[in-house]
């Protein structure tokens, strides 16, 4: 059995273990939060190095891939370099390939429809998803400046997103990560609905769950949420707010959808192929990954997984 560990900058309250079958092998998955403590995360990676088959970086991206250009977050690079033997991955290799395909698949099967209004709470970390929405004819609002920087400026095209990324990311990747993204206890703070107008205006809310949860408004009746890393408590929260359909981009195991870093680490562990290597797209395709759709309110199609 292969073993992978996701070392997360997120809260330890979300720690869990599970097993998953991938490419005919069973993989033991473990998530260990470090409450936003980079030094503790680095020490944990060092202690795991050589003792597990792959390590995922959770709660932090190492690479942001925007229209083929890759920006490397320095805090994440330092974490990854703490391991000398075991491969360390961050999920960006899956986001750029699999999440794009997932949107196309949801569109083909009619779970979502062209012309719907999409709020992506963050897009620079999920550019493939944003590109898929735009290409398929959805009305896109990328909320990167709204949710990360609290500036009321919706980005409406991937071209502008690309332009802003080119101006901002070369400098931002050098900042302490906690300035860019909620880590540790900030991830479990009470929701602040101050950006409700953007949620209200959208039919589909997509992207990083921590941003969604942190700014979750009271009512999301009839809306579709496309995200990952949800726990059973998160699902109940979305159901209570009236969400119609919850799509998690990674498989649900024991009621919990894992981060892309965990699934990517599991794929690396069983295949020996790293993201970016020529065989990676084939490994992802062969894995037959399935997102999970859960109708949270009454729907004629009933429960679909």
């Amino acid at each position: 059995m292969k073993t992978v560990v996701s070392v997360s900058l997120g809260s330890r309250t979300r720690d869990h273990e599970a097993t998953l079958s991938l490419l005919g092998e069973t993989v033991r998955l473990r998530r260990q939060g470090t409450d936003g403590d980079l030094d503790r995360a680095a020490a944990l990676i060092r202690s795991l190095d050589g003792g597990v088959d792959a390590i995922g970086l959770g709660g932090i991206d190492r690479y942001l891939v925007v229209r083929g250009r890759r920006y490397e977050i320095q805090d994440a690079a330092r974490l990854a370099e703490s391991a000398k033997l075991t491969p360390v991955v961050d999920g960006s290799g899956l986001k750029d390939t699999w999440e794009r395909s997932l949107i196309e698949s949801l569109h083909r099967e009619g779970a979502i429809a062209a012309g719907q209004r999409v709020l992506m709470v963050s897009s620079m970390d999920r550019f493939g998803m944003a590109e898929a929405f735009e290409r398929l004819g959805y009305s896109l609002v990328a909320g990167d400046l709204i949710f990360a920087s609290h500036i009321h400026y919706p980005i409406r095209t991937t071209a502008e997103l690309e332009e802003l990324a080119a101006k901002l990311l070369p400098s931002w990747v050098k900042l302490p990560f906690h300035q860019l993204y909620p880590v540790g206890e900030a991830q479990v703070a009470d929701a602040d609905p101050k950006f409700r107008e953007y949620f209200d205006a959208a039919d589909i809310i997509a992207g990083d769950f921590h941003y969604i949860r942190r700014y979750l408004p009271d009512a999301l009746a009839g809306k579709v949420v496309i995200t990952n890393t949800t726990t059973p408590e998160d699902v109940a929260l979305l159901q209570a707010r009236g969400v119609s359909l919850l799509v998690t981009t990674t498989p649900v195991v024991d009621g919990r959808s894992f981060g892309t870093n965990v699934i990517e680490a599991a794929l690396v562990a069983v295949s020996g192929v790293l993201p970016g290597e020529p065989d990676w797209p084939e490994v992802v395709a062969r894995a037959g990954l399935q997102g999970t759709k859960r109708w949270l309110s009454a729907h004629p199609q009933g429960e679909i997984s």
């Binding site: 400046l145 920087s149 609290h150 500036i151 901002l168």
Partner: protein
């Protein structure tokens, strides 16, 4: 280039840029710049997105930026990103994190790639 000239250039770029005007339409702040070496105070003021600058103190500043005058001049003229001196401890900013981030964004959108 003097600090005042750098600030005037920064102000001009902000006010002529439609995107920045839109981003700052709800942003009204007073920013005091305090060169550590010369003590020659300067200020930036954003009034609902219309930015102005000058020499001297500003009343009840929302943000205080301290650095050597050469660093402040370099940052506001686009010769240096704020991140470099900030990470090196050569630029001290006191204020709300959101305002610090916004000022960083403004300078990067004006002077970035």
């Amino acid at each position: 280039m003097t600090l005042l000239e750098a600030l005037e250039k920064f102000v001009s770029e902000c006010n002529q840029n439609q995107r920045l005007r839109e981003m700052n339409r709800d942003w009204t702040r007073r920013i005091q710049l305090e060169p550590e070496d010369t003590g020659d105070l300067h200020y930036l003021v954003s009034d609902a997105g219309l930015v102005s600058a000058g020499r001297g103190p500003v009343e009840n500043p929302d943000m205080l930026i301290q650095a050597k005058e050469a660093i402040l001049t370099a940052v506001f003229s686009g010769q240096m990103t704020p991140t470099e001196p900030y990470n090196a401890g050569e630029l001290l900013v006191k204020g709300h994190q959101d305002d610090i981030m916004r000022l960083d964004i403004l300078s990067l959108l004006i002077w970035g790639e």
